[in-house]
Amino acid sequence: MKYLGLVRANLGRNKLRTLLTGGAITLAVALVCLLLTMPQGMNALLDDIASNTRISVHNKAGIVYTMPASFTRRVRQVDGVAAAMGQVWFGGAYEDDGVVTFPNFAVEAEHVGAVYPDYPIAPEHLADFQRYRDGALVGGQLMERYGWKVGQRVTLRSTVWPVDLDFRIVGTMNDDQAPFFWFNREYLDQALKAQGGNGLDIVGMIWVRAADPSQVNAIMREVDEISRNSEAETAAETEKSFFSNFFGSLQGLVTIILVVTSLVVLCIVVIAANTASMAVRERAGEIAILKAIGFGRRSIFGMLLAEVVVLATLAGAVGVGLAVGATGLLQMFAGWSPALGPLGNFIITGPVIVQGLFLSLFVGMIAGIVPSYGAARKPVVEALREVF
C-alpha cells in the first residue's frame, strides 16, 4: 500500500491514454452488466405472463400438429386438474389482404373462467362470452390497435378452415400480455358442420390449470402417460416453458450477444494489456533504476500490476455505475407508459454489480500480468544494459 502514491503518480503520467483505456473498460463493463440483466429480465417477463399453475399440452410433434378433441375430456379427469380448456388455431385474417395479423383461437367458453382466473376479464363479459355463440373476447391491445368497441361486429376469414365467421365482440381482456382473439369453439364446430363436414373434432392445444402448483409435475407426467399409446403423443409443459419456447429465438439472440460481449471483453483485455506493455516499455529506464536501488522482483511486479488493476477496477466501477443509471432510466420510462412496463424488469441486481466489479478486476489482472511479469523478471544488469 506504500506504493499507492507511486501507482497513482504513474497513472497520471499519460492522462489521455489512461482516460482512453479506462473509458474503453468502462463502456465494456457497462455493456456486460446490462447484458447480464437480460436472462433475469426475460425470466421476470415470463413470470409476469405465466402463472405457475398453468400447463400447456400439445402434440409432441410440435404445436402445429393437433390432438383428438376427446383428449381434453380425459385430461380433465386427471388428478389435481382444476380446469382444462382446448383451443384451436383459427388463423383468421381481419383485413382484406388475407394476412393473419393477430392470434385468434376457438376456445371452450365455459372453461375460460376456470383456466384463467388471473386474467382481468370482467364477470359480465365472461357471462356474455358464454351466452352468445358468436361472441368474442378480445385483448385490450388489439381493441386499441383496430379501434374496436365492445358490441361491435367483426368478420375473420380463416386461412385454415373453409369458413368466414362473423363475431360480436362481447368483452375484452384488459391485459397487455393477452393480445388474443378468442371465440366460442361451438361456433366454428357448427359452421363446419353446416358446410357438410364432421365438425371440429380436433384440438391444437389444451391449457390446464393445476389446483396446486405442487401438482404441476405429476399432472404433466400423467397427461403424457395417457397419451403415450394414443395416436397423438403429447408434450406437456408449464406455461412458462411454453412461452420461453416462443422466446427461444430471442434467447438465442441473447447467447449471440453474450458471445459478442465475451469478445468485447477479450478486446478490452488486449487493449489494457497493450497499454500496460507500452507503459512498461517507455519506463524501462526508470524500472531499471528502481531495480538497481533495491526494488525486488516482487515489488516491481506488484507495482506495475497494481497500476493496471487499479485503472481497470476504477473504470469498471464507473461502468457498473453507468449500467445502474441506465436501468434506472429504463425503469423510469417503464413507469411512464404501460407499454414500456416490461423494461422495468431489467434491473442491475447485487450479484450483477459484484460480477461487473470482478470482471474489471479480472481484466486488469489478465492484462497486467504478462508485461509486469516480464519487466519484473528481467535481471537488473540486463535492464540497465538495455537503457544505458
Partner: protein
C-alpha cells in the same frame, strides 16, 4: 593482510572476472582483478570506452555477478546472494547514482529521494523527514516540491545523490555521474561527492571520463580492455589524462 591499525576494506575483490557470450563472440569484459577499497576513500575508475568500468562497478554494487573470484562488500560475501537477496542488500548498503534516467518524472524531488525508504519499515512522516534532510545536504532544500522536469541537469543529479545517501549506505557508487553535465555543474557534483566523503566519511566509487575528477578523488584506477593497469602502465594512463585536461590538474590537489 589486515593488521590491527589497517581498517577493514569496504570493498575487497579477489580474482574477480566477467565475460559475456554474445553470439559467437566471447567478450572478456573483465580479466581477473583484485583490489581493496578502504572506508572513507573516494575512488575513481577511468579508462576508454568498453574497458570494463561499468562491468566492475556493477559487480561491486551487487548489480551484476562475477563469473569467477570472490567479492566481499560492506561485510557481505556477494557471491553467496541470489538476485532478490542482492536487491535487498543493495537497498541497505549501496547508494547508486547513474548518468541518466535517475529520477521518476511524476514524483517530486522529495518523493524521489524517499523512494529507497519505501523498502524500509519507516513510516511516512519519517521517510519524508529523512528525504528532506538528504535534500538539505545536497543543497536543494528550496526545491522539495519541484518535479524533475523543472530542475536543471545539475539539480537533478543532486536529487539523485540525495536519494543515494538517504538510506545512509556504506558505499556510494556512481557511474559517470557528470557524463551528462556541463563543466560548471560537473564540478559542483564532484565537489558535492567530495564533501560527502569529507563531512560524512562516505566511501565513494565512481566511474568517470572526466579529467576534472582527478582534483577531487583520492585514488584513481585505470582500466584497459578489462585489465586493471598497474605500475608504469597506470602512470602512463594517468599522465595521458592529465595531458588531456590541459596539464593544470594535479594528482592529489584536492581539498
Amino acid at each position: 593482510m589486515s593488521t590491527d591499525d589497517t581498517p577493514i576494506p569496504v570493498v575487497a575483490i579477489r580474482g574477480v572476472a566477467r565475460h559475456y557470450v554474445r553470439a559467437a563472440d566471447d567478450v572478456q569484459a573483465l580479466r581477473p582483478i583484485s583490489l581493496d577499497i578502504l572506508p572513507g576513500r573516494f575512488v575513481a575508475f577511468m579508462g576508454p570506452s568498453g574497458s570494463g568500468k561499468s562491468t566492475l562497478l556493477n559487480i561491486i554494487s551487487g548489480i551484476d555477478r562475477p563469473d569467477e573470484g570472490a567479492l566481499l562488500v560492506a561485510g557481505e560475501m556477494l557471491n553467496d546472494l541470489d538476485e532478490d537477496e542482492l536487491a535487498e542488500w543493495r537497498a541497505r548498503h549501496v547508494g547508486l547514482v547513474f548518468q541518466f534516467f535517475n529520477l521518476i518524472p511524476v514524483l517530486s524531488a522529495r518523493d524521489n529521494v524517499a523512494l529507497p525508504l519505501l523498502l524500509t519499515k519507516l513510516d511516512r512522516a519519517e521517510r519524508t523527514r529523512r528525504a528532506e534532510t538528504a535534500l538539505r545536504v545536497v543543497g536543494l532544500d528550496h526545491r522539495l516540491d519541484h518535479y524533475p522536469g523543472t530542475l536543471s541537469g545539475g539539480e537533478q543529479q543532486r536529487v539523485a545523490i540525495a536519494r543515494a545517501i538517504v538510506t545512509d549506505p556504506d558505499l556510494i557508487v556512481a557511474d559517470e555521474p557528470t557524463g551528462d553535465l556541463d563543466a560548471r555543474n560537473a564540478e559542483d557534483i564532484l565537489s558535492l561527492l567530495r564533501q560527502l566523503k569529507n563531512d560524512f566519511g562516505k566511501t565513494i566509487v565512481m566511474v568517470t571520463h572526466d579529467p576534472r575528477a582527478l582534483r577531487f578523488v583520492d585514488d584513481v584506477y585505470h582500466l584497459d580492455k578489462g585489465i586493471l593497469l598497474e605500475g608504469e602502465d597506470a602512470e602512463r594512463a594517468g599522465a595521458a589524462i592529465r595531458m588531456a585536461a590541459g596539464g593544470h590538474v594535479g594528482g592529489g590537489g584536492h581539498p
